[in-house]
Amino acid sequence: MAVRVSMKINGKAVSGEVEARTLLVTFIREHQRLTGTHVGCDTAQCGACTVHMNGKAVKSCSMLAMQAEGADVLTIEGLAKPDGTLHPMQAAFKEHHGLQCGFCTPGMVMNAVDFARRHPNASEQEVREALEGNLCRCTGYHNIVKSIMAGSKAMTTSK
């Protein structure tokens, strides 16, 4: 069954005719060609597909595109400033070597930004728990945690 879906992605209104079974991540990657959002599993564990929907981190592989009808979606491509300046969380990941192969990174960063907004003064343990829905196989999380602590601080001061 074909359906029409409309939403905002990274501030831009988009719409398309899709099969009803189209996942949000498929709509983002295949229909909008925004390939920064990744798919790393099929059981909602890895979090590589994390985007923001109406300001909240969600797993775009675990929902239909239709569930984002009318929503405001932010992907990794929309996080840096239009002039290319990195968001403080992105900058912190770079500075603290919070990424290696880069595949889990967009999901990590998107979750981290949402978390830091809500919990600006989180402890290391709280950051680790907040990453329950994101898997990384490269970094051992050490530098991801460090990056999020620093990025969170930078987000507070850059407000």
Binding site: R21, L23, T50, K56, V58, L64, Q67, F115, A130, E132
Partner: protein, 264 residues
């Protein structure tokens, strides 16, 4: 994912009418259903999306009860200052479901209707003796959970809200499966004022109450009342991660810890 017909009703009566088809499924947050459909384990002919029915979501708190709309996301329950004040154990339980991203989508109604044997919410509903309101009436918690992925819901019957009586004190302790983070054993202990209820999820094919524990705690609400109670392993789940014996042991440990937490 198999193809399906997609419906997006604007009110719950239309939804109930569309969901009555035998191979139809109701889509709430989708955190279990979409996975199952992706893996081709579920293949509904029709999918009825409740996402646009605004009045299904929301939290109401009064002196006696916390009433939560079926489409209220776990994150909203976990983060609600009112719920934290009235039934902190319920907010804490909601904060332990899945992960942050899942909690931003997953719903109370979806969780209960699915009745996954390792889901968290059924423990709170049964432990707090909640009432489930649907498009067809109400269900007492004790009569709602029927078995593995089985509830008292009839085809086309949709949960609209759940009312949790405010207990004197309560706590939930969850022993997580390392991999899936579902409950291997989750124990919800509630001192309702009119007796103690102990509900266990994860351990058996369906959430259940522990009469012996309830009796002991009703007599004296203290960790030592349950610390040495033994649970029979017969009938408990046994899998790669936890044998029935291990689960039986964990029930006692988690119950004791829940009582300790409730007393804090």
């Amino acid at each position: 994912m198999h193809a399906f017909n997609y419906h997006r009703p604007s009110n719950v009566n239309d939804a109930a009418a569309q969901a009555v088809k035998t191979e139809a499924k109701i889509l709430a947050g989708g955190q279990s259903l979409v996975q199952a459909m992706k893996l081709r384990l579920a293949a509904p002919t029709d999918l009825v999306d409740l996402g646009m029915i605004k009045d299904l979501a929301g939290i109401k708190v009064d002196a006696k009860a916390v009433t939560i709309g079926a489409m209220t996301r776990h994150a909203e329950v976990a983060g609600s200052a009112e719920v934290k004040m009235a039934i902190p154990a319920l907010a804490a339980l909601a904060a332990m479901i899945g992960d942050r991203q899942v909690r931003n989508m997953g719903t109370l109604g979806g969780s209960l209707a699915n009745n996954d044997p390792a889901a968290d919410y059924p423990a709170a509903v049964l432990g707090l003796n909640a009432t489930i309101t649907t498009t067809k009436g109400t269900h007492a918690a004790d009569k709602f959970f029927k078995g593995l992925y089985e509830t008292a819901l009839k085809p086309g019957e949709i949960i609209t809200s759940v009312s949790f009586p405010v207990p004197k004190r309560a706590a939930y302790m969850k022993f997580k499966n390392q991999a899936s983070r579902f409950a291997i054993v989750g124990v919800f202990v509630a001192d309702t004022g009119a007796g103690v209820r102990v509900a266990v999820t994860g351990a058996a094919p369906c959430v259940l109450r522990l009469a012996e524990f309830e009796k002991a705690l009703t007599a004296k609400f203290a960790p030592e009342s349950v610390a040495n109670l033994k649970v029979k392993a017969d009938g408990l789940n046994s899998d790669l991660h936890a044998s029935a014996e291990y689960r039986a042991h964990l029930i006692t440990v988690m119950a004791r810890r829940a009582v300790e937490a409730a007393l804090k």
